[in-house]
């Protein structure tokens, strides 16, 4: 989806301002928003790509006007509403009105360390040989899918060079395409594709700059 989350190359947001002595959390609510997001992610009712898709689907003005933990929180509420795990009234006051869903996996305190240490690896066995090798020139597809994608707009329709081959990984676009488990994984070869800044932004761009993205194989075609 061509949303405001896809920010690469936008202008007019002003300088990057780092907060001096920034605290890890700005208020207790951020701590709980982080922990709730991680704990609910562990229930297996959605996956990380569906979480990203939910955040990206917030109204543009809400997305731009919210801090990142506020975006996470709104995304989490949306994921729960969509799956009938909570309704809007319940989310407003915390009072339970509908019965709890069954078969929700609960992350227990004793399992937190192991769960975080394990993470969610996305590498999978490759189902076919890699189509591209390091050094190959590739062209990124000009595509504008309605759903979730990880090919940013600023690199679409450009020519770059394969810099790294990462093996096969769960394909984010497919992974976000089904709302409930079992999710589609459709593992594909993943590459780092590097572009000259002048190819992305024009001849006036800085000749010393190169920019790369990580791109799944189906985003790419051989450069002609």
């Amino acid at each position: 989806m061509n949303g405001v989350h896809d920010m690469g190359g936008m202008q007019g947001y002003g300088p990057v301002v780092a907060e001096a002595d920034e605290p890890l959390f700005h208020g207790d609510w951020e701590k709980r928003a982080l922990a709730l997001t991680l704990a609910m992610g562990a229930t297996g009712q959605w996956n990380i790509d569906l979480s990203r898709s939910a955040r990206e689907s917030l109204p543009s003005a809400v997305y731009l006007g919210s801090s990142y933990y506020a975006i996470w929180l709104r995304g989490l509420e949306r994921l729960m509403r969509e799956r009938g795990l909570a309704d809007a009234d319940e989310l407003r006051d915390g009072r339970m009105r509908t019965p709890a869903a069954l078969a929700v996996r609960v992350l227990r305190a004793a399992d937190v360390d192991a769960s975080l240490a394990r993470g969610t690896p996305t590498a999978r066995p490759a189902l076919a040989p890699a189509r591209f090798a390091v050094g190959t020139r590739v062209h990124t597809r000009n595509m504008h899918p309605q759903g979730h994608t990880r090919l940013p707009r600023y690199v679409r329709g450009h020519t770059g060079t394969i810099a790294l081959v990462h093996g096969a990984h769960v394909f984010a676009d497919a992974h976000a395409s089904r709302a409930r488990p079992p999710f589609l994984e459709q593992a594909q070869w993943l590459y780092t594709v590097v572009f000259a800044a002048q190819d992305l932004w024009g001849p006036q761009a800085d000749a010393t700059v190169q920019v790369s993205v990580d791109a799944w194989e189906s985003y790419l075609e051989p450069a002609t």
């Binding site: 947001y13 609510w29 709980r32 929180l73 709890a100 769960s115 996305t122 990462h166 780092t192």
Partner: protein, 215 residues
């Protein structure tokens, strides 16, 4: 709001009501999810404690410092960062697939996530607000020298700048150059020179106190 209030007062009030609103909203959510049995409040406490105390940029600094003095480790790190970093006890969530990128006199690396806020948690902890902000996410890929300038960093015009946009589940750790005058320091002293920003690529490693003081 009365007419006597200044714009600053207005912003101040607005911020407060916003924080109160978020506070209430999260409390309602935690209460509900606990009542429904979806979350274990002790697990929430453990998650927060983990990122407050155990997982943070000190982990990445230890990796970088070791890479400065241990050539075999550095080769491993550049070849298979996930395994090399795991050997020091760091890995897992948001660092499942790591790649280390080393700065040289010719090339400076910078990491961004233009689409959300992907960041190598096991080595750097949770990202700062600026990393997740629109200014950084928009500007890093079109004007990385401007970003460096926002951070007060000036590189030679001939230095190549390499920006890594983390658009999949690979996470990048910048290995800054060891500062001049740091030879002879032990790994712990070296780690103290490695800032979080140096490992994102918006900063450089700090000068050792003696070198800085001697100028």
């Amino acid at each position: 709001m009365t007419q006597m209030q200044t714009p600053h007062d207005h912003d101040h009030d607005h911020d407060h009501s916003h924080l109160d609103d978020m506070d209430l909203r999260v409390r309602a959510l935690e209460t509900l999810l606990t009542r429904k049995g979806y979350v274990d409040p002790a697990a929430l406490d453990r998650i927060v404690e983990t990122y407050e105390t155990r997982i943070g940029p000190h982990n990445g600094a230890a990796v970088v410092a070791r890479s400065w003095v241990d050539d075999a480790f550095r080769r491993w790190l550049m070849q298979d960062a996930t395994a090399a970093i795991a050997s020091m006890g760091f890995g897992g969530r948001q660092g499942e697939h790591m790649v280390a990128v080393a700065n040289t006199p010719e090339t400076h690396n910078m990491v961004v996530c233009t689409l959300c806020s992907c960041y190598p948690w096991p080595v750097l902890g949770l990202p700062p607000v600026w990393y997740k902000s629109a200014p950084y996410r928009s500007k890093a890929v079109i004007d990385p020298r401007g970003v460096l300038s926002d951070f007060g960093v000036q590189l030679p015009e001939s230095t190549q700048i390499r920006v890594w946009d983390s658009t999949a589940e690979v996470r990048y750790l910048v290995i800054p150059m060891m500062p001049a005058g740091a030879q002879g320091l032990d790994q712990q002293q070296l780690a103290a020179l490695v800032t979080r920003d140096a490992m994102i690529g918006t900063g450089l490693a700090q000068q050792p106190p003696s070198a800085a003081g001697g100028r």
